[in-house]
């Protein structure tokens, strides 16, 4: 944050005529609250209070028709003692881990190419835009667009068959865990590329030069200079990817064809069955798990310094 302007503001205020100075200094003190007000109010009404509502409802009771205000622990009991929950968590964490590793490798390589191998700034901007544009299009459409590629009679299968590599179409391509992870990587690789690229662009090129003059090979420069300095970007990208995958339900539902499960999907199903207290308890646990993961990743980096 820029705080360096404060002293000069104070001096200019004292130089102003006295009464105007007083009024202005009051305004100056109140101004930040007015300016931050709309943001604070929106987040309060549509984020904080709803989450507190979820926490409250997670202790409520319900039957097949409605939910009752109460204080019961049965929702948590049923959730945590069910083997389905643990299996689903394991599955969700598996998706998150696989997606994280693959997007990290892709993101680092793509960002490294853009930041250090593309020489002209114009090309850098153009190629960066090419990478980011899909981020601004519909996720659901991007998932659907894999169907003609991965399907039983899809491009990949017919290509492999005509190349003589396989005789039977591969069944695991669509509506499988493979398809889910593929779609996650497709959707979320951008979230890795952008922050890592941002970190890399701030690396002082003289450091790279110095390392090379000192006799470091290209690989050593990447490993010992660029990688450590790109860590903040990696951490931010990882937080995005992991939290998006942990909370997802639509990708898992669409790409696994209902054959795989995730916590988000479990919550969505409970919602559609109107079992709100059960969904709420599930949501509270998910939020706790995600927050623990994020706090762990934030230990690596102070994101406020990295913007």
């Amino acid at each position: 944050m820029t705080v360096s302007a404060a002293p000069s503001e104070a001096s200019s205020a004292s130089a102003a005529p006295r009464s105007g100075g007083v009024r202005r200094s009051v305004l100056r003190r109140v101004a930040p609250y007015l300016q931050a007000g709309p943001l604070a109010l929106t987040l309060l009404v549509f984020l904080l209070i709803p989450i507190l509502t979820i926490v409250a409802v997670s202790f409520w009771d319900y039957d097949s028709i409605r939910i009752y205000p109460d204080f019961v622990l049965t929702n948590y009991e049923e959730l945590l003692t069910s083997p389905v929950t643990w299996k689903t968590y394991l599955n969700t964490v598996k998706f998150a881990a696989l997606t994280w590793v693959i997007t990290l490798l892709i993101g680092f390589t793509v960002a490294y190419f853009l930041a250090f191998h593309v020489q002209s700034t114009t090309w850098q901007m153009v190629l960066f835009l090419v990478c980011t544009i899909p981020f601004w299009t519909s996720n659901i459409i991007r998932m659907i667009s894999w169907i003609p590629f991965l399907g039983r009679n899809g491009l990949l299968n017919s290509g492999l068959i005509s190349a003589g590599l396989i005789d039977q179409p591969l069944e695991f391509l669509l509506f499988s865990d493979f398809a889910v992870v593929l779609a996650f990587v497709h959707l979320y690789a951008l979230f890795m590329v952008v922050p890592i690229f941002n970190s890399m662009m701030r690396i002082d090129r003289a450091l790279v030069e110095a390392a090379r003059d000192g006799g470091a090979s290209a690989a050593q420069v990447v490993w010992n200079v660029i990688l450590p300095l790109a860590k903040p970007g990696i951490a931010i990208g990882s937080i995005f990817v992991v939290t998006l995958v942990m909370g997802d339900f639509i990708t898992v539902r669409l790409m696994s064809g209902g054959q795989s499960a995730s916590i988000g999907l479990m919550i969505a199903n409970e919602i559609s069955l109107l079992q709100y207290p059960a969904a709420a308890a599930n949501a509270v646990v998910l939020l706790a798990v995600v927050l623990i993961m994020v706090v762990a990743m934030l230990r690596i980096v102070d994101i406020r310094k990295e913007l």
């Binding site: 609250y33 931050a36 709309p38 491009l155």
Partner: protein, 279 residues
């Protein structure tokens, strides 16, 4: 730029090939469904093409059974534009606030970051439950608008932070020294410098809202937005009409992105010309 030097070794070409594959991976599938949306009337969801026609695009506009495609499209645009305006306004204002220390600034910052990492379905569920308990009917222009803002505002805020961190306060001091009032400083110095980035914030606001699914699920009330409509179609439509819809919405997204980028470019060129003229 100094970087890896002027010579392009093997590593450059390997990385360039990797980058090319990545771009193919990003755009290949959408290109495929674009081609397939021109299937003939007898064509199916996969290749081969069974003739070429606009059958499925026509189908999209006449078939009432698919649902309310036109209405949901209009609602999504109206919602996206509202989210865009509010995101730019709220995050810019908050950006000014955060340049000074104020009580609760830390808490507000963490709340905004939390808004990014709280899974979308929780926001959806929470707002749905809250409105349910309070007895308020959820609507796409009320509860869904709020739900979308919890996703777009943190992005907007972070972008505004990034701008202000790179912002040279000397410009403002110079304006003040020349006798500008605070409002004049903001209007004639700060805002013009921020404008291209604010267009970026607007792009985030509009497109993230236009495509948002999970946060709209429990908050849209009785009228669907476009992503909800598309999702409904995926479960019960098995013809290329789905691809036609995908092609159209993607085309629309590309147009919106193109307009924003053109806006930024025009601003930059005009500024370049102006500063060139001044010098």
């Amino acid at each position: 730029m100094t970087g890896t030097g002027n010579r392009r070794g093997l590593s450059f070409y390997l990385l360039a090939a990797f980058f090319g594959l990545f771009v193919l991976f990003l755009y290949g599938p959408i290109a495929t469904i674009t081609i397939l949306s021109f299937q003939g009337p007898e064509g199916g969801l996969t290749f081969p093409m069974n003739g070429v026609s606009l059958h499925w695009f026509r189908n999209l506009f006449e078939q009432q059974a698919v649902g309310d495609f036109g209405g949901s499209f209009r609602r999504s645009i109206a919602l996206g534009l509202t989210v865009m305006v509010l995101t730019v306004l709220f995050s810019l204002l908050a950006g000014f606030a955060f340049r000074r220390r104020f009580l609760g600034s830390g808490a507000l910052f963490y709340l905004a970051v939390a808004s990014l990492i709280v899974p979308s379905i929780l926001v959806s569920l929470g707002i749905g439950l809250l409105f349910n308990i309070l007895g308020i009917e959820p609507t796409w222009y009320g509860s869904a608008l709020g739900a979308h803002l919890t996703w777009t505002l943190p992005f907007g805020l972070l972008i505004v932070f990034a701008i202000f961190n790179r912002f040279n306060p000397a410009y403002e001091e110079a304006a003040r020294d020349l006798g500008a009032t605070p409002w004049q400083t903001v209007r004639h110095v700060v805002l013009p410098i921020l404008l291209p980035s604010l267009i970026g914030v607007g792009l985030f606001g509009f497109t993230l809202s236009y495509d948002e699914f999970a946060r709209t699920l429990m908050t849209a009330g009785s009228f669907n937005t476009l992503p909800l409509e598309i999702y409904g179609m995926t479960t019960n439509v098995t013809t290329p009409v789905l691809y036609a819809l995908g092609t159209l919405t993607t085309l629309f997204s590309f147009t919106v992105i193109g307009l924003f980028l053109a806006g930024v470019m025009i601003l930059r060129r005009r500024r370049l010309r102006r500063t060139g003229g001044a010098a």
